[in-house]
Amino acid sequence: MRNYKQIIEKLLNNQISSKEYQIFLKDLKRIFKQALKVYFTSNIEKLFHKYFGPDYLEVLASEFIFKIVSKKESFLNLSFINEKYLLTTAINIIYLYLSSEFKLVEKEVNLNDLSLTQEEDKEQEIRVEGLLPPVFVNFLEDSALNHLVLSLKEKLTKKELETLCWYVNKAYKQNPKEVKASADTLYKRWERLKPKLKKIVGEEVLEGTSADKIFYAIKSEICDKYS
């Protein structure tokens, strides 16, 4: 496993060469690309592109450098800095931008501008955020819903999924997939399924997420794929 300790130490001690710096930036861009692809969605990546232009990975990598400098002591404390830690840090930076509607960007970090000895203001007031942008809330709600839907897929039998989709399609006034059972049987099956469903949905508390949203996720992620 690759250790980034040495290069980060060089950066923080102002001993990094321009070539090494460029290689490190390239690594960070690759890590951000991976973070966006695996832990976010292509739509989120498109938003970064929209706000910061084609060099959005460069912008994010510069922000990462800024973070390393701001948290100098934490990084220097580590004996081994693996890529997973850099990936986790990149994910948090992406969330920070989503929560700020992309309004946080600093000017591009120039190696010579970095104040490596700068003391942070420890008396500054920190605030709990009020209203958060829909892009941030929606993404997190979707992640939780996505997890819930996959749990349903895993925990329900084929017959139960069929019954669930019959009910959801009915709610959406769509013609359900041909089911070899009478309406009466389906109602009975639905009544039997309800407590189990309630247990699964209830277990995975989705406060503030409307039933509509859950139904829509079930429909698009399970039912539409079965029909």
Partner: protein, 277 residues
């Protein structure tokens, strides 16, 4: 095999990075903790504390610390979840629905002061931690994992000050032990047991117990149980007799009509708390 969703992937990344134990570092610049501060525990990935309450004790202070994290997807539970932006550190935090008690030296040596929150925001974080239930999905798994990681530090400090924790804010559930069980213990080997050093406080594997002798009501047992046992069905036994069985509604339980024993050490050590299946 289950298709991995984003939360699942975030959880796996977190677990692979954290490992099983909490490795904590010391800070170079030590700043004594104060109320309302936001502090960062030096570990990878970091854990954050908002200092909500100071319990002034004899020599060292104990602090109620609300927990926050950088793992946004795993920590965010609903649109009410408090979020803190730290633009100067390029970091975003979400509040978690639990807290720990940490002592002054731990906070001094292992946490960095990041800034100060106002009282309203501290109350908001506190209200959220008290109000919100921990879900039983992957996010709940993550929160419980973090609770377990912090438990040794939390419990150690609580144990030290348990006798002085009268300020403990949980409204307790109160139970009266039946006369039958009281008599049973009074006539059992516990009536003759005498430990080398008599104590009225005991730390079990998952609880703290304290015996107080109150003139008006006689001896009283108080049990403090882990926060993640809330709502779960538990069984509390002393040897083979059941003191309580049922769902846990508060983390503090009080029992009165206790057997009159000359020494409670071995009786306390015989307490067993389990989640019943």
């Amino acid at each position: 095999m289950r298709k991995k969703d984003r939360l699942q992937r975030e959880w796996e990344l977190y677990k692979s990075l954290r490992g099983k134990d909490l490795k904590i570092f010391s800070v170079s610049t030590k700043i004594p903790p104060k109320l309302n501060e936001l502090r960062e525990l030096c570990t990878i990935p970091p854990i954050y504390f908002a200092i909500a309450e100071e319990l002034p004790l004899d020599q060292v202070k104990l602090y109620k610390a609300l927990v926050l994290t950088e793992e946004i997807g795993l920590g965010w539970l609903n649109p009410e979840t408090p979020i803190i932006k730290l633009p100067h550190l390029k970091t975003l935090l979400v509040a978690l629905p639990f807290w720990v008690y940490l002592d002054e030296n731990f906070l001094l040596n292992h946490t960095k002061k990041l800034g100060v929150l106002n009282e309203d925001d501290i109350h908001r974080l506190e209200g959220y931690a008290e109000r919100v239930q921990i879900p039983q999905d992957i996010r709940g798994k993550y929160i419980s994992f973090l609770m377990e990681l912090l438990a040794p530090y939390n419990t150690r400090f609580i144990l030290t000050y348990l006798e002085k924790l009268e300020e403990y804010q949980f409204a307790p559930s109160v139970f009266i032990i039946s006369d039958y069980i009281k008599n049973y213990y009074e006539n059992s080997h516990f009536a003759y047991a005498k430990a080398a050093s008599s104590k009225n406080v005991h730390k079990g594997k998952n609880f703290f117990a304290i015996i107080e002798k109150i003139p008006e009501i006689g001896p009283k047992l108080t049990l403090y149980l882990p926060q993640d046992y809330l709502e779960q069905k538990i069984i509390i036994k002393v040897e083979n007799k059941v003191l309580y069985e049922g769902p846990l509604e508060t983390v503090k339980l009080e029992f009165t009509n206790l057997p009159e024993l000359p020494d409670y050490t071995s009786w306390l050590e015989a307490i067993d708390v389990e989640i019943s299946v």
